[in-house]
């Protein structure tokens, strides 16, 4: 008995002797092992194909494809991207949290939040949203640093985040404000500088994307505008003409209410219209989109509102967990195939059980964001995080192109980080000195 107690004390002492960096590394490796070598959806596999072939389209975030292509110089397959996005997340979170917590507590909270199923589930998949979350946290940490090189690295991280999801730009303003020295006076001046930084980073992201893309598929435009046009017209029961666009079946165009998946609307035997393929059709679709919003604003608002209710998990709950290594037939040409370890199988089961609880409903995090903002009002780094998460969620109202848990992931991650950090900081010993 004494032996056991002594041994337990020894283990405790050994753990206590580990540095925050060692804890972070161990946590990072463990989180990677929970989903090694990284889950791949259909889109991820297509994107890997583009990264490997070097032929980029705008169907998948070209900046992210570029990053993946660079990773493929060193390690092939999804693993380097998994390591990158989880690494940026955990080290970025540590960099931000160590301003509010002791280094040890910050390391434990950073790893703990990454491993929390609602945060972990999308981070395990190679998606733009996961890389964006990691890049945003890394950006926040780097921009908080006093060194000029770190601030430049933060700007690069903002470019990557903007390249993954262009619509994130407004949500990066609170993070960009972290880059400004406390001595800089004037709220308007500070806000102006932050906006200028965000505009510059978003511009660079757009420029890099434009340079990288070989084939323009108008993917982002189609994803958003087709669902808005069809959804609005269906709710308004308006058979508006859409000059310049090829409608396959006008009767089907007005069937039902919902239109939340642009792919279904433009592909397959039940498609409503042909996908656009050139600049003229792109302009025609934009014109139809503007006309639908202007002419039937009530219907448009109802359509977007219903989409948002779904996105928040209020109506039509969906299974928010994706944990598949990809279709072997789809992956055959890419020479990638993987099976889960026992640890992964067990962890998947845990994540699936947690997914049945409200912890996977974005609405919960919208509600929790309010106390988080109030409680974090004196800690600018935590306030910036949660403000960024809330702003990104608000952006989904006009810009979400479908309903998916991962679109709310940034809000979920920031609320988790801020609330856990605030809870931990209640103990004086765990606060930053």
């Amino acid at each position: 008995m004494m032996d056991l107690r002594e041994r337990a004390n020894r283990v405790r002492a050994w753990l206590a002797a580990r540095t925050p960096r060692q804890l972070l590394l161990a946590g990072w490796v463990t989180c990677i092992l929970l989903c090694y070598p990284g889950y791949l959806s259909f889109d991820s596999i297509e994107q890997l194909g583009q990264a490997r072939s070097g032929h980029f389209t705008d169907a998948y975030a070209p900046v992210m494809t570029g990053v993946w292509s660079l990773c493929e110089w060193i390690f092939a397959g999804p693993f380097p991207m998994l390591a990158l996005q989880t690494g940026l997340f955990v080290f970025g979170a540590y960099g931000v949290l160590k301003r509010a917590l002791s280094p040890r507590a910050a390391a434990v909270v950073a790893v703990g939040v990454l491993a929390a199923p609602p945060v972990f589930a999308p981070m395990a998949v190679i998606w733009p949203d996961s890389l964006m979350a990691g890049a945003l946290l890394a950006a926040a940490a780097a921009l908080l640093d006093e060194r000029r090189a770190m601030k430049a690295a933060g700007a690069v991280a903002l470019v990557i985040a903007g390249g993954c999801r262009p619509e994130v730009a407004p949500a990066t303003i609170p993070l960009a404000m972290l880059a400004l020295p406390a001595s800089l006076s004037g709220r308007l001046r500070r806000a102006g500088l932050a906006v200028a930084l965000v505009v510059a980073c978003s511009g660079v992201a757009r420029l890099v994307g434009w340079i990288l893309v070989d084939d323009d598929t108008y993917a982002w435009q189609q994803r958003l505008e087709w669902i808005d046009v069809v959804g609005t017209l269906r709710r308004a029961h308006a058979d508006d003409p859409m000059p310049g666009l090829t409608v396959v079946d006008r009767a089907r165009l007005l069937e039902g209410h919902d239109a939340y998946d642009a792919y279904v609307l433009t592909h397959g035997p039940k498609r409503v219209a042909e996908p656009i393929a050139d600049d003229a059709q792109s302009e025609a679709l934009s014109a139809a989109w503007h006309a639908a919003i202007a002419d039937h604003f009530g219907a448009y608002a109802t359509h977007r509102g219903e989409l948002m209710l779904r996105q928040l998990g209020i109506t039509h709950p969906w299974l928010p967990v994706f944990d598949d290594f990809g279709d072997p037939d789809h992956l055959m040409l890419l020479h990638h195939r993987a099976t889960p370890s026992d640890l992964e199988i067990a962890w998947r089961a845990i994540v699936h059980v947690v997914a049945l609880t409200p912890l996977f409903r974005p609405l919960l995090y919208v509600l929790l964001a309010i106390p988080a903002i109030v409680l974090a009002r004196r800690r600018r780094e935590l306030l910036a995080l949660v403000a960024s998460g809330v702003m990104y969620e608000i952006i989904q109202l006009p810009l979400a192109s479908s309903v998916d848990y991962r679109f709310s992931h940034w809000l979920v991650a920031t609320v988790w980080l801020v609330l856990v950090a605030l809870a931990v900081a209640r103990k004086p010993a765990w606060r930053a000195s």
Binding site: L33, Y36, W73, A76, L334, R337, T339, S341
Partner: protein
């Protein structure tokens, strides 16, 4: 000044870029499939699939095993070099040996030879550092990875086992320890085996019998049948002619398959007994012919006159000769761009004199004299030479990986010799003596 840990980390990263997530050959497939099915055969040491099963609890596929064999080797090299060189020189020497193409080329393949080499290096490192229990466990693990590892563990344990005894008593204690760990390794493998594959009868025994028959004086069919009484033969007459026709000192598969087989695979215990008896009659009864055939095998193993082959190093993620096996493995991978270039380089190097084991065998003998004052290096060189010479009787197919341990030991000795001679940081014999005395004092009651 780059810190030793950074040097070792950089070596590990370079190796990871070359090997990630681990190369897979025929033996690797057998280990992995057995690990996943949970049914272990004794065709290969069952400890390997058992270990792999344990590893697959945490990480699926070859990566975990690759990490074990690479980290064991690098850790072992570091411990060994720290005994003879200063910390930074030791790190440089460890990294150099670890990344030396003939060493890294085999370590990158998840296979028993690389596992054995890793555990042997670790065992030697711990023993020389005075960590007896850990060292013996590592040596036992090495013994469990290959049946013939006992030839490599004997010199290491005899020379490096820390004990207060002197002279013959010390050697006797070390021999008992060696016997103990060897018996433990064999017993563990025997206990873990669920299915007997009788691999020796249908493969190695046939190879020895046919090889010896090839070089025996002309033997009429009646005499050959008498010698092979009870052995399942694929032909009735022209037995020795067939043995000469199908002679290949580096393979046995042609003896039981293809268009001109000599034997049928044994099915019953009686047939296996007959093969064992025939082996004794033919091999032990005709030592000259047997040694002649073994020399043919060994000289090819050590590359004295091996014909050019496609590659002496295995750099593929699935079995290149059988892509249809990929779905069974449920594993596939592609090389990164840098890795692809490294693989091409590795193949080119593998067909250069860098992969001629006889050079390392000769160099090991020379270094044995040059490094005679470094106990750990002498022990390792003796281990490498013993292990290589044991292949004279045991080598079935002449793969380069069989020589990896000798090449590793030779590279360690060369690096230690160069480090001692040219590094300013080198630990002087006086410093070593002080350290040895401190160790002995620690062991004293």
């Amino acid at each position: 000044m780059i810190r030793p840990r950074a040097i070792l980390g950089a070596a590990l990263v370079v190796f990871a870029i070359y090997a990630f997530p681990g190369y897979i050959g025929w033996d690797t497939e057998a280990h992995l499939l057995q690990a996943r099915s949970g049914i272990y055969s004794d065709a290969h040491p069952p400890v390997i699939p058992a270990l792999w099963r344990l590893v697959e609890v945490f990480v699926s596929g070859p990566l975990g095993m690759l990490a074990i064999q690479a980290l064991a080797l690098l850790g072992g090299l570091t411990l060994i070099f720290r005994n003879v060189l200063g910390p930074r020189t030791a790190a440089i020497a460890s990294a150099a040996v670890f990344l030396f193409p003939p060493v890294a080329g085999v370590t990158a393949l998840v296979v028993k030879d690389a596992l054995m080499a890793g555990f042997l290096a670790l065992g030697a490192g711990w023993l020389v550092a005075g960590r007896t229990r850990r060292g013996l466990v590592a040596c036992a693990l090495a013994s469990a990875m290959r049946w013939n590892a006992l030839a490599a563990t004997l010199p290491i344990i005899v020379a490096l086992l820390p004990t207060r005894a002197r002279g013959m008593r010390r050697i006797a204690i070390a021999c008992v320890a060696w016997l103990g760990i060897t018996a433990a390794a064999f017993a563990t493998n025997a206990l873990l085996a669920d299915r007997h594959a009788y691999a020796w009868y249908g493969g190695y025994a046939y190879q020895d019998i046919a090889g010896t028959l090839r070089w025996m004086e002309d033997t009429p069919d009646a005499d050959a049948r008498a010698l092979l009484a009870g052995v399942p033969l694929a032909i009735d007459h022209g037995i020795q002619d067939r043995a000469r026709e199908t002679y290949n000192a580096l393979d046995y598969r042609q003896l039981t398959s293809g268009t001109t087989p000599l034997f049928d695979l044994p099915d019953t215990a009686a047939e296996r007994d007959a093969i064992a008896h025939a082996w004794r009659r033919i091999v032990l009864g005709h030592p000259g012919a047997y040694l002649r055939y073994r020399w043919d095998n060994f000289r090819t193993l050590i590359e004295i006159d091996r014909p050019h082959t496609f590659a002496q190093v295995y750099v593929w993620f699935t079995i290149i000769a059988a892509p249809e096996e990929t779905p069974r493995l449920q594993h596939d991978a592609a090389p990164s761009r840098v890795q692809d270039r490294m693989r091409i380089g590795a193949i080119a190097l593998s067909n250069s004199p860098m992969y001629w084991p006889w050079i390392y065998l000769a160099l090991s003998c020379v270094l044995l004299v040059a490094c005679r004052r470094m106990a750990v290096v002498v022990a390792l060189l003796a281990s490498g030479i013993c292990y290589e010479l044991a292949w004279f009787f045991l080598d079935p197919t002449g793969d380069f990986r069989y020589s990896q341990w000798m090449v590793t030991c030779c590279a360690i000795a060369a690096a230690a010799w160069i480090g001692r001679r040219y590094s300013k940081e080198t630990m002087r014999p006086s410093a070593q003596r002080t350290e040895s005395q401190a160790m002995i004092a620690k062991l004293a009651p």
